[in-house]
């Protein structure tokens, strides 16, 4: 399994061409997809054409960037011009975007080779990728288990080496939880660091695009390529983007790390707790000062999220009406029944459930009791983090309370599914950067994830702590046998 930097070396030393690297990725996808089902579409022709452009640049002696010729998977809620973008939903089964998302545009400019669009829970609503209208993605470590979600296709594809890196989106944990379940690195950046132009909206005050990689360095390189201000996204931040690879220093002397006490409570698997405690010992050995930090309102994150996100979703998804694009039910005889039939047939159960929750929470008489109250609790959760970052540089917790669960295990009970995002959601509510990286394996050989949370725009510190730990432990060298 080669990293971005290794492949880049092979390209510039002319040991391999970009076309050969792309063909190898496409071959592996072809071989594994019957078992894994990570991709909703494989874009072989476009990928080979892009690889050829990189090879032409190399042949003419041009310098190429680190991402040039690197195979990448793109979550299928990012619009790709001329390439079908379904969001894992029947309602968008025929949608061919007339425009390109900013992040995929930047990656194409950097020479990255998109090999396909990855599977996801419909409209990024879910924690197992089982809510996709098209297929269920398998976890490469155990194909009877889920890869996590909602960016499960991207995580499984990277873990199984179908591509080197991938993009996902994270509204309540949809990058970090699948990274944890698949034993790879995934980062949700600070809200506003990465432009969301062309990301199909789920919950706009929380959504953020971020990278997956098998190593901290790969994730850092990919973030550097997609971050930055964009006039097309009015929530994007006008801030300078540092070279994140400069933060990859294998030393934690003087770093102050806080353990969030409340994340070691009820519902946490003991094997996960043990792995995270061992990681904390490793941080100490690397020279970090570790202390316990209480975030008393942390546990209210989950109910807060499940008011706020569905409320925003109910508004965002009102646009799917069968008029201008997407699926339309043909049985209707009036405009109103066309709307209600189109939406009834086009959306899956979880999407309908969240639209219903959101519509209820925003409806007359309930707004103050639910939506407004949740926004106030959101302030309290943010204040807990602000207080914590007065005394530490980063916070750590488990990424998810368990390792990957079996397919079908939680589909009957929506609340039990929601609980797997308990530790990632507060980070979205506060807009902070959060990264998951592997910190061990359970008795069945399933990966365990460690979450590192940074202060606003302190991705550099998150990367440093993650990198130092990764280099000291080597969990990232374990590979699934598939």
């Amino acid at each position: 399994m080669a990293s971005i930097r290794e492949l880049h070396q092979q390209l510039v030393r002319k040991e391999r061409t970009a076309t050969e690297i792309t063909q190898a990725a496409l071959e592996r996808i072809h071989q594994l997809e019957p078992k894994l089902r990570s991709f909703l579409a494989v874009t072989a022709d476009q990928a080979l054409a892009q690889a050829q452009r990189v090879d032409d640049q190399l042949a003419s002696g041009e310098e190429i960037g680190l991402l040039a010729g690197i195979p990448i998977g793109i979550k299928d809620n990012l619009c790709t011009k001329g390439i079908r973008t379904t969001c894992g939903s029947h309602i968008l089964e025929n949608f061919v975007p007339p425009y390109e998302s900013t992040v995929t545009h930047k990656l194409a400019e950097a020479g990255a080779v998109m090999v396909g669009k990855t599977n996801l829970d419909e409209f990024a609503m879910g924690s197992s990728t089982e809510n996709s209208a098209y297929q269920v993605t398998a976890n490469p470590w155990d194909i009877t288990r889920v890869p996590g979600g909602s960016s499960g296709g991207s995580a499984a594809a990277v873990a199984a080496d179908e591509c080197v890196v991938a993009l996902g989106s994270d509204t309540g944990g949809s990058i970090r939880q699948p990274a944890s379940f698949c034993g790879i690195v995934g980062l949700k950046p600070t809200y506003g660091l990465v432009s969301r132009f062309g990301l199909v909206a789920y919950a706009s005050s929380l959504d953020q695009i971020g990278p997956f990689g098998r190593t901290v360095e790969d994730a850092a390189i990919l973030l550097g390529a997609i971050a930055g201000y964009d006039s097309k996204d009015s929530t994007s931040l006008k801030v300078p983007i540092p070279d994140y690879t400069q933060s990859l220093i294998p030393d934690l002397k003087g770093k102050r790390i806080g353990i969030i006490t409340e994340t070691f409570g009820e519902g946490l698997d003991s094997v996960v707790a043990d792995a995270v405690y061992q990681a904390i010992e490793q941080f100490k050995a690397l020279g970090a000062e570790v202390q316990e930090i209480s975030c008393p309102r942390f546990r209210y994150g989950l109910p807060t999220y499940y008011v706020i996100a569905p409320s925003e979703a109910s508004a965002n998804l009102a646009r799917y009406d069968g008029v201008k694009y997407g699926f339309r039910s043909e049985e209707a005889d009036s405009l109103l029944s066309m709307y209600t039939q189109t939406r009834a047939k086009g959306f899956g159960a979880e999407v309908k459930r969240r639209i219903m929750i959101g519509t209820y929470a925003l409806s007359a008489g309930y707004y103050d009791a639910y939506y407004l109250k949740a926004q106030k609790v959101r302030t309290l959760i943010k204040q807990d983090f602000e207080a914590a970052f007065q005394s530490v540089d980063v916070l750590v917790s488990p990424t998810a309370p368990t390792t990957a669960f079996k397919a079908g295990e939680k589909t009957a009970d929506p609340l039990s599914m929601y609980l797997s995002d308990l530790m990632t959601i507060p980070v979205n509510l506060a807009g902070l950067p959060g990264l998951s990286l592997p910190c061990g394996f359970d008795a069945q050989g399933l990966p365990i994830g460690l979450q590192i949370i940074g202060n606003v725009l302190r991705e550099d510190q998150v990367f440093q702590v993650a990198y130092a730990y990764e280099q000291a432990t080597q969990w990232h060298l374990h590979q699934p046998e598939i």
Binding site: M338, I357, K373, K376, T379
Partner: protein, 98 residues
């Protein structure tokens, strides 16, 4: 507690045609989710300002310049039904009864 009549009303607001079976199922599921939300009442939020977005930015403007907005044919190609320069939909008004 939410009942099936309310679920029916909310589905109408959300422009979702639910089956009877879906209404029954959502009544139970939404009920337990709303119960779960009750724990938010444990917190005193009387003097707390709401947070509308995680990192606040305000008054974002740009020069009001004309820009080409996408490829017209590609936009129309996505339409379920179309006539000339129009998106076509089922009739909005009821037929007049004689």
């Amino acid at each position: 507690m939410i009942d099936q009549t309310q679920v029916h009303k909310v589905a109408n607001l959300a422009r979702l045609a639910l089956t009877e079976a879906e209404e029954v199922q959502f009544t139970t599921q939404l009920g337990s989710i709303l119960d779960y939300f009750e724990q938010l009442s444990e917190l005193d939020v009387s003097n707390v300002e709401p947070t509308t977005r995680a990192i606040d930015v305000s008054n974002i403007t740009r020069p009001d310049d004309l820009q080409p907005n996408g490829d017209r044919d590609a936009i129309f190609a996505n339409a379920p039904d179309q006539d000339g320069d129009f998106f076509k939909v089922p009739k909005i008004m009821k037929d007049q009864e004689a």
